[in-house]
């Protein structure tokens, strides 16, 4: 009797030992349990840093639009985070990281889907899942935070005149299906990854995808009333510069997690480098925008330098880990110049983008992606192919969504609601109740 229990105990211990040590035992540079915890902790910190970017987007958009539409902006930004997280759990994560691609094209994975819902499986929560870098749930929640940011980019461009319901439908579909599917081409180890295309933290995958959506929305929706009158561009000023500034600094703060977490471990060399390239590119973006704005507009425009820092951040996002610090500064500087020129040009083209989303995310997202081919050890041609490939799917997909929803239910509010403000018209409440805030435009 006693000997049988002793035998069982020995076997149990051996199996336990095999289970714990086996994965590490086969790898040369096995990550210790301690390092696993360190890596995973950093990844979770990065996750909530990316999360706070949503507050940044919300406050920035509020600051750059009119007070009568503030509730609507806040509502859209809150809803998008929720819908983004939930759809990523239901379908997005497994669309972006299918593992096996069912359809192959252009020399690599073109479409794959690993099933609905999220499930760590047997090894998901162990050190074996990602060689001790993070667990399955960390992987999921980190990537889920990224997903909602693509949809949020659109909300700024279509602000002040889009109907809430149609907006939610369009962006939910975009973030649930289009964003993750396109993401699988590179981060999901699809065909562009096989080609050698490089996008460290998402200049193309997140920012340009959001930017193409924003462009499609702006085109289908049309400009705000009173924006383009008799061939002239009328400025519609934002109502709260402090909030806009708070928003940009929250975004900059969150970007340390956005880029820092994209290292996908707590590797001291890479994470510290990425922190520096990220921060200095943002700084150079501010300076580039400041100089350009001061020269072109005669007086330096705060909203332009705020956009400038974001432009620098978007610009470095593709290559934060693979360009020199000096290159990062140059990339950021050029992004800052580009964003000012772009905002003015897009306005001249009669495309009304209240917050400059297209200029910051699409234009600078493309710049950042190409810059990796210029300043990093990657092929410029491949980067260009990637940019074109993403544009050729993201833009038509978004355009079709906006166009069809517009034809079926209409995406634009009535003139009465647009003049009176979406807060009262769409939500039946005011953002600043008790304050007498007057708008005559």
């Amino acid at each position: 009797m006693r000997s049988r229990w002793k035998l069982a105990g020995i076997i149990a211990t051996l199996m336990l030992g095999a289970g714990v040590f086996a994965p590490g035992a086969f790898a040369e540079d096995a990550v210790s349990q301690e390092m696993f915890t360190v890596n995973n902790t950093w990844m979770l910190v990065a996750t909530f840093l990316v999360f706070i970017m949503h507050l940044g987007f919300a406050t920035l958009e509020v600051g750059l639009t009119r007070a009568k539409n503030t509730v609507n902006i806040l509502f859209k930004n809150t809803a998008i985070v929720a819908l983004g997280l939930l759809t990523y759990a239901s379908v997005g994560f497994n669309l972006m990281y299918p593992g096996d691609f069912g359809i192959e094209l252009f020399g690599g994975g073109f479409f794959g889907f690993a099933g609905f819902g999220v499930d760590p499986g047997e090894a998901g929560q162990t050190i074996a899942y990602a060689d001790g870098a993070y667990t399955y749930w960390t992987d999921f929640i980190f990537q889920a935070m990224f997903a909602a940011t693509a949809a949020t980019i659109i909300s700024g461009a279509v602000a002040e005149r889009i109907k809430l319901g149609p907006f939610l439908i369009i962006t939910t579909i975009y973030v649930a299906l289009v964003y993750p599917y396109l993401g699988s081409w590179k981060w999901g180890a699809g065909w562009l990854d096989a080609k050698g295309f490089y996008d460290f933290a998402g200049s193309t995958l997140v920012h340009s995808v959001g930017g193409w959506g924003a462009l499609a929305g702006v085109l289908v929706l049309g400009p705000r009333l009173g924006k383009y009158v008799n061939g002239k561009i009328k400025g519609i000023a934002g109502h709260n510069m402090p909030l806009a500034t708070i928003g940009v600094f929250l975004l900059w703060l969150g970007w340390f997690g956005f880029n820092g977490g994209s290292v996908l471990s707590a590797d001291p060399d890479l994470v510290s480098l990425v922190f520096v390239t990220t921060a200095l590119a943002a700084a150079a973006g501010v300076v580039g925008a400041m100089c350009t704005s001061w020269m072109v507009q005669k007086k330096p425009d705060l909203s332009m330098i705020l956009n400038g820092s974001l432009a620098g951040l978007v610009g470095i996002t593709a290559g934060a880990d693979s360009v020199s610090v000096m290159s990062a500064i140059i990339i950021g500087l050029i992004a800052g110049i580009l964003v000012v020129v772009s905002v003015l040009t897009i306005d001249k083209a009669k495309l009304d983008d209240p917050v400059g989303a297209i200029s910051v995310h699409l234009v600078c997202g493309i710049w950042g992606t190409l810059a990796v081919g210029i300043f990093g050890d990657f092929s410029f041609m491949t980067q260009l192919i990637g940019v074109i490939a993403y544009g050729s799917v993201a833009f038509p997909a978004a355009f079709i969504l906006f166009f069809v929803v517009d034809k079926v239910v209409g995406i634009r509010v009535t003139e009465k609601v647009e003049i009176g403000g979406l807060d009262v018209g769409e939500h039946g409440m005011e953002a600043y109740n008790g304050f007498q805030i007057f708008t005559t435009d």
């Binding site: 009262v424 039946g428 109740n433 007057f438 708008t439 005559t440 435009d441």
Partner: protein, 113 residues
């Protein structure tokens, strides 16, 4: 000399200014006010409870004008402000006892310009 006080819908301000400029009336003073007349208020809903708002935002324009220009001014305001719906507003005309230009000390008709 007359003082014209007009209460209009805020979103008509741009149109009213435009038609006043076309009538060569370029001097005015604009303030924000809350007001009500025949136009009913609107309902807001806050966390399940109704809020009734019946003081609505209006814009008040004051123009000091010489008698010859009175009718053109009134016509211009109406042209810009009228939409045909309740809430278009009202125009009051008062007698103006004196007008002084601060910079030069001119009085009366010259001061109004």
């Amino acid at each position: 000399m007359k003082l014209v006080i007009a209460y209009i819908q805020p979103e008509r301000l741009t149109a009213v200014k435009q038609s006043l400029f076309e009538a060569e009336v370029t001097k005015m003073s604009v303030t924000n006010v809350l007001g009500c007349g025949a136009q009913g208020g609107f309902h807001e809903n806050y966390r399940g409870a109704d809020i009734e708002v019946n003081l609505l935002k209006k814009v008040r324009i004051e123009i000091g004008i010489n008698e010859e220009y009175l009718q053109t001014t009134i016509d211009a305001i109406i042209k810009g402000a009228k939409t045909g719906t309740i809430g278009d507003g009202k125009i009051f005309v008062m007698d103006l006892a004196e007008c002084i230009r601060i910079r030069t000390g001119e009085l009366g008709k010259e001061a109004i310009g």
